[in-house]
Symmetry: C2
Subunit: 411 residues, 2 copies
């Protein structure tokens, strides 16, 4: 029960609708080989990663599906001969599943993104041989964050109202500033982070543990459809794969690896999001945690991170930007400058928003939009910019102008 | 108007009820000189501190009250001749207040504690020439914490219910563990910290900015009486002194210096307690801050400390004890670092096998190997391990997950 040879013709027909139909034959064969690889391995298969890195996915696949041989490549890849034999014994039983998985991908309308694509998030290369062989994607591949800063926002499924509010606010603020928000589509914090980014029309990616054709959790089917429409739903396992516990853990490493920084918004003492935080720290990526009441069990995990691994204390969108190494004010200034250079009245727009605000009483976004003569979405985006700049403040009832504050130092 | 000479007879009569009547003459004269010094200087008078350190309080006082001379001692103390002249010009006008201040001390029933006493908190020596020359005390001098660990618990006057609760809880816990709780008797956090320590019969010291005969704030008169009854009310300024702004700042340095560690329980962005935190950091003493909701302005100062000066995140009494370097109890919970080290490959492999099993229907070893992505031999070995552990069960048709399996850790 061997796999059919990955000829250009076969690659073209198998990847119809999945890869770019205008691709060169060689590129299609490489993509096809990677797609097959994703069907044979569990996420983070080091032997597969080492082989592919050594001789490319096509040759590596030939070696993988053969019964013997390939000792020279395995040696060059730094593998013991026994490791290749052992790997074959776990890859071969899955050869029969490949055709089914590819068909499931076509049915779901999934796209294949590989390291050869411009949309590939290069950051994952830091995983070395544990990096994914490819990604299966629904939606806008640009939301994977290859071309912009990306932040992972994760946390407890059993989030409090406080945690959900913060996740939504921080994600909306980061997305407004042009940062892609990466999360895991789980109930609680993950979902709120995606919602916050979607609310401002920002880029967001939901990384799933199972195939992208299997909305998980089921109660987030509608949210996942919205993410696929406005951002990206992605997975390293092919369509038809179920979300097992192992794959959740592997998915967590990928959330961290795809992001420039990870923020744990709310987490209990043993929250799975601490696992994502651990991966971020292991990758040397900046790690932040949002504090909460010490009387709240929902924040105990965040406080652990602050205490035990010296995570940065995150209290605002500006803190998130600082964690990413981005100066929120400079970013904003550039935006305004760009806007004025292109004659888009960017500065004028901000002035109009400021004019529509009060110093004392909070006004709703809707009210401000009306007073300033903007659509609600446009007003929300502008308010987000001004919030980053510290010129306006969010209050329970809406927005107010910030009192002028000197850039106070602590002492 | 010069001061009368500090003879043993005069010292004994002036310090009647204030110092130990059984003291040796020499000790009484030293104590008397220090009491006089406290009437002449503002807290933290470096010139006074340097002179006293060089030639002792009695000789230093002679030099201080003289119109000229003492250049040799000043030189030995590292002072410029001009500094001594300038200091005299600020000390001399107060010579006429000494008798009155001493009388006020006797009326208030205050006790004098000096560096020569066993009850003197040696920690304040770290202030060098800025250390107090003596302390005026109401209550149990042992609550000054000379013989036990001491923690400063400070924070905003405008505390939230959350902050008050935490201050009381943390202070009660620390006091129960034998730690003296030092604070400033202000409304809000300070008061709650004292109350928490008193509630468990623990040691607590209220350091006042004015004289101990002037309860401040007035609304804490009753609380200060309770502190004097169960702990200590102390000040470095003599009785009859009013609490000026300068003395508040000086008092803050003393709170930090009298404590092994400082914890800011709740503080706004510009809270005066950040000043105490600064002194603790400058003295190289451990500094902790209790986080709160990032939406609460009352916690903004604590979050600043966590972000800007890397204060330790304090969430519990155990954290306070750790800040003090005291191993109060062996923590049951593993640290994040420890837990992360147990994420061995083996645990992950077992998780993958468990993922491939069903709770209900038995699956063959071959089927399980394919689902989990292992060779058959490897799967069989892992299943054997899990069987030994009681996590899986062998059935006629293969293997099932056991009903009551231990929850796996995520790390």
């Amino acid at each position: 029960m061997n796999l059919p040879e990955p000829t250009p013709e076969r690659a073209r027909s198998e990847l119809a609708g999945i890869a770019d139909p205008l691709s060169e034959d060689d590129d299609l064969v490489v993509a096809y080989a990677r797609a097959i690889w994703s069907c044979l391995v569990e996420p983070g298969d080091r032997v597969a990663g080492a082989l592919i890195a050594t001789c490319g996915p096509v040759r590596a696949l030939e070696i993988a599906v053969a019964s013997t041989g390939g000792a020279d490549v395995a040696h060059a890849a730094g593998l013991e001969p026994r490791e290749l034999d052992k790997a074959r014994s776990r890859w071969h039983p899955r050869r029969g599943d490949v055709a089914e998985r590819m068909a499931a991908g076509r049915r779901a309308g999934a796209r294949l993104v590989t390291p050869e694509d411009h949309a590939w998030p290069e950051r994952v290369a830091d995983l070395g041989p544990f990096a994914p062989v490819c990604l299966w994607v629904l939606g806008d591949v640009d939301a994977l964050g290859a071309a912009c800063p990306a932040v992972a926002m994760v946390g407890s499924r059993a989030a409090s109202a406080y945690g959900d509010l913060l996740a939504e606010d921080l994600a909306a603020g980061a997305a407004t500033a042009g940062v892609a928000v990466i999360s895991g589509a789980a109930y609680g914090i993950d979902g709120s982070a995606h919602r916050g980014a979607l609310a401002v029309g920002g880029a967001t990616t939901a990384l799933l543990a199972g195939g992208v054709d299997r909305p998980y959790p089921a109660g987030h089917r509608e949210l996942l459809e919205r993410i696929a429409a406005g951002g990206t739903v992605a997975a390293e396992v092919p369509c038809g794969s179920s979300p097992t516990k192992w794959r959740f853990l592997a998915r967590n490493r990928l959330i961290a690896a795809m992001s420039d920084a990870t923020v744990v918004v709310e987490a209990g003492w043993r929250s799975g999001s601490l696992n994502t935080a651990h991966h971020a720290a292991a990758l040397g990526r900046p790690l932040g945690a949002v504090p909460g009441p010490v009387t709240s069990a929902s924040s105990a995990g965040c406080h652990r991170l602050l205490r035990e691994v010296q995570a940065e204390c995150i209290t605002s969108v500006a803190d998130v930007m600082e964690l990413l190494g981005l100066d929120a004010r400079a970013l904003n200034a550039r935006t305004v400058a760009e806007a004025s250079q292109t004659g888009e009245q960017g500065a004028g727009d901000l002035t109009r928003i400021l004019d529509a605000l009060s110093d004392r009483s909070a006004r709703s976004g809707h009210d401000i939009a009306r007073r300033a003569g903007f659509g609600s979405d446009e007003a929300t985006a502008l308010l987000g910019l001004l919030e980053l700049e510290g010129t306006v403040e969010r209050r329970p009832g809406g927005w107010v102008r910030a009192r002028h504050r000197a850039a106070a130092t602590l002492w």
